[in-house]
Symmetry: C2
Subunit: 366 residues, 2 copies
């Protein structure tokens, strides 16, 4: 299939010149300003990377992993020059933990950083220049690998949409180029389906409190020419009940080995409403999102974020001063509500425990 | 039971002096400015009343009905002096229709205006002064009657809460003094329960797009000293699934004769989520909210409001420019999801068709 691309580029990495005169450059699009302004920020050190992840300059589970990987590459470049052997590993291991702690829920962050750390253990006897190159290559590979995974998810998901004749899709949060290294997960599926059938229509749920649906997803759909309608999170059930939604697709931040899926707060509600209205509910996520170390969603820690996300919008208060707030950033959708999980290895469904295991064992499942 | 009151007064009507030197004054709290500012607006003519209803200076189904009744009283005062007999009825009938068209979904509006019009047909042979007085008395009666209904709903609902031992209640939109002529419907139930058990806790859902939960309900809970936590609409299902919600109560804009209930957009979702999590879901609404002329919720027209409600908050855009929008203001919760309807005649449940009929036939049902 022809490669599908999006115009939106959330991360740009320029490797150092071969002579090391030019340093590498890591630029990220400041997603806090989208859709109002397109501004890139240069991240010069791994500390900058941590801040960018913590402050949600970059967001979306896969993109956080990619950014973290480049962050590790920057750290290696700095650390490798001053310490060697065991102390290099120790130093980077401590930096790796620091980066991993930037966000508690996204498993891709751990996955990417751990992959880099595996390589670090193998490079400590290499000459400095080769060591730096090896880690940089790995970070670029993590980025390109995610791009390829998005392509595959897009193909499998679009095939399902085409086969089932779905014409109207509801999605939540942002799962597009802004969240990944490629065309996106749930968004990538819709974009690929749109390339086959331009009549497809999308509802983007606002996704309070951070409004990623309203700010980012409408931006990406419009940039790609897709017919997109913004709705309040309160209107999702209404449209499902009215028969205006054929399919719900969401991304994932972490998937347990039984298929239970942590994703943006509000996803669980959509899944319950979809079930109640006999609408298929799909998750689209690469295998890097799966955490086989946990048996069920019960074990996924749910981050509670700042109260200001709920009480303020565009810097202005929307409620009575001094009110208490709860702000869980994610929820867990039990596997029983999920019609299928679209991965780069095919669409998992049915008995998730075994279909997930098969996907990791490279069994052909599609 | 002791009369429960709220400090919040959304409407004040001062009758004319007996000598007619002083004109009557109708003041309404501009609810668009709550919780930031408490400002009263004087409505001098029925045209002002229509604007106030249309622009949501006043909102909440019962309060809209009360305001409309006072609007009719103002209209009678103006019209009665210039025309008589049949032409008076005709003129007022046309004004009544104008007022009824200010908002399409709220049944209380029709109910209150029709009640006034019944009286109008009886007064056209009275002296001007007596005619004016008769209609004014009726409008005041509609107001006081609603206050009494709120008290009764509060008592029945609070008794249920006390009996079931519910400690944590989730509610949507605003259903308090700001929405009614008394302590409110769902809000009044919670306020009355709080007077019996001050340890009761409340979750207020933001209620996008107009955020009445965040703006008005948190204001009313805090003004009354009730422990209130604001949450995004996306977090309701999460908290229900976590077992942090014992009960959901919502108000109603119109209830069909089978119990299907139109209320603020997002209510249907809460009902489905409550059912899925075995949490009781109650509606609190006076009998004036029931529309026995319709068999089911299918017949309730759903108002779609301005796109700016979805795309702008506090006057600022929250999404990509030019995106399409759907903005249904209400949804219909089928009766099967409703554990009970708290009315001033007791709590209706089970076979709604017959329990609603009984309530209207004055049968004792509590």
């Amino acid at each position: 299939m022809k490669k599908i691309t999006s115009n939106v580029k959330p991360i740009i990495y320029e490797p150092a010149g071969a002579d090391e005169v030019c340093k590498p450059r890591l630029l990220v699009l400041d997603q806090r300003l989208i859709p109002y302004e397109k501004k890139y920020i240069e991240l010069k050190t791994y500390k900058d990377v941590i801040s960018a992840i913590k402050d949600m300059v970059v967001r979306g589970a896969p993109l956080i992993g990619i950014t973290a990987a480049y962050g590790m590459a920057l750290a290696v470049r700095d650390v490798v020059k001053t310490c060697h052997g065991k102390s290099l590993c120790e130093e980077l291991s401590s930096i790796a933990n620091e980066i991993k702690n930037a966000r508690p829920t996204a498993i891709n962050l751990n996955w990417a950083v751990d992959l880099i750390m595996n390589d670090v253990r193998a490079i400590h006897e290499l000459p400095v220049h080769e060591a730096i190159n090896a880690i940089e290559k790995r970070a670029i590979w993590i980025h390109e690998d995610d791009e390829m995974r998005c392509q595959k998810m897009g193909e499998y998901g679009a095939h399902m949409i085409e086969t089932c004749g779905h014409k109207s899709v509801l999605t939540i949060c942002n799962t597009g180029a802004l969240a990944t290294g490629g065309i996106g997960t749930a968004f990538g599926v819709i974009l690929t389906a749109y390339k086959k059938d331009p009549s497809i229509k999308v509802f983007a749920a606002e996704t309070r409190p951070r409004q990623q649906g309203a700010r980012l997803t409408t931006f990406e759909f419009i940039e790609n020419g897709i017919d997109c309608t913004l709705i309040s999170d309160t209107a999702c059930g209404y449209l499902m009940k009215k028969g205006e939604v054929d399919l719900v697709i969401a991304g994932a931040d972490r998937i347990a080995s039984n298929g239970d899926t942590a994703n943006k707060i509000g996803t669980y509600q959509l899944a319950v409403l979809a079930k109640e209205n006999n609408i298929p509910f799909y998750i689209a996520a690469p295998l890097s999102t799966f955490d086989l170390s946990i048996k069920s969603g019960e074990e996924i820690p749910i981050e509670e974020r700042s109260h200001e996300e709920v009480t303020h919008i565009n810097g202005e208060t929307i409620c009575t001063k001094g009110v208490k707030v709860r702000n869980p950033a994610f929820d867990v959708t039990p596997a029983k509500y999920i019609s299928g999980i679209i991965t780069e290895k095919g669409i998992l469904s049915g008995d998730y425990k075994s279909s997930i295991k098969n996907a990791f064992n490279e069994t052909v499942i599609a």
